[in-house]
Amino acid sequence: MLTASTGWLLAAAAVLGVLSVASGVAVFVVDSMARATFALLGSFLAVAAVLLALDLAYLAVVTALMMTIEMAIMAVFMIAFMMNPAGLVPMSMVHNTRGSAVVGAGAFVVLTAGIWLVDWPVRRTAVPADPTRQLGEALMGSHMLVMLGIGVALFATILAGTLLATARGRYDRFGPDLTAHRPADPVRGGLAR
C-alpha cells in the first residue's frame, strides 16, 4: 500500500537521487575544475537531503558540513595542481575510458539486479523518536570501540598528513643546533614567536 508518507518519500528520493547522480556525472564531464569540484559538492548535498528525508537529521547535516569544507579545500588543490582550472583550455586527462566505462556500468548493472531481485525484509521496529540520541548512545556505549578506532585513525591521519605534506622540519626552523630564538618561517604566525 502506498501511504502519503511513502509516496512523498519516493518522490523526494527519486528527484534528489537523479540530481545526485547527474551532478556525479557532471564531475567528469565539465572542463572547469572549479565546476567539477562543486558538481561533486552538489551530489553530496543531494545525498544529505535524502538522509534528511530519512529522519537522519544529524548525519544529514554532518554530511553537508564535512563535505562542503572538504570540497572547499579540494577546490584550492584542484586550482593549484590541475593544468586547466577554469576550463578555458579544454584538454583530455583520461586513460582507458572504455574499460572504465565497462567496469562502472557493470558494477551498476550487477548491483541494481541484486537490489531489485532480492526479497527485502520488512522492518519490525519503528523509527526512534530521536535518531541522534540513538547514534550518540551507541557511539558512547555499545559501539565505543568504533569511536576509539575513529579517533586513533583521525589522529594518525593528522600526523601522517602533516609529515607528508611539509618539507620543513625543526632543523629548518631553528637552525642546525636548534638554537634560534625565533623560527625562520616563511610566514610569521599571529603570536609573534
Binding site: M1, L9, A14, L40, L54, L59, R123, P131, S142, L164
Partner: protein, 105 residues
C-alpha cells in the same frame, strides 16, 4: 507498492553513484580527479547505509554507525590523498598517476 520500492529506488541511486564513481576513479589520470571518483563511490555507500537504517533496522544504531565510519573514511582518504599529492609533486613535479607508476615497486 510499499516501502520496499522506495528502498529499492534509493539503493538504485546509490548503485548509480558507485558506478559513476568507479568509472571516474578508473578513467581519470590526475590524483585529485581519482580521489573525486572514490568520493563518489563512498557517497553511494553513505546513501545505502542511511537507507538500510531507515527501511530495514531503525531500531538498531548499527547502520548509523556505519555511515559515521564512511564519513571518517572519506575525510581520511581526502587528507592522505592531498598529503601524498603534495609530497609527490614536491619530489618530482608530477600529479598524474601514470607518472608515478614506478611506485608499484
Amino acid at each position: 507498492m510499499s516501502a520496499e520500492v522506495v528502498l529499492q529506488v534509493v539503493l538504485t541511486v546509490a548503485a548509480g553513484l558507485v558506478g559513476v564513481g568507479l568509472f571516474g576513479a578508473l578513467s581519470q589520470q590526475t590524483v585529485v580527479m581519482v580521489m573525486m571518483g572514490l568520493e563518489l563511490v563512498l557517497n553511494g555507500v553513505l546513501l545505502a547505509g542511511g537507507a538500510a537504517w531507515y527501511f530495514l533496522a531503525p531500531g538498531l544504531p548499527d547502520a548509523q554507525v556505519l555511515v559515521v565510519v564512511v564519513l571518517v573514511v572519506m575525510a581520511v582518504e581526502m587528507a592522505m590523498g592531498f598529503a601524498v599529492t603534495i609530497a609527490l609533486y614536491r619530489s618530482r613535479q608530477v600529479e598524474m598517476i601514470d607518472m608515478a607508476a614506478d611506485l608499484r615497486g
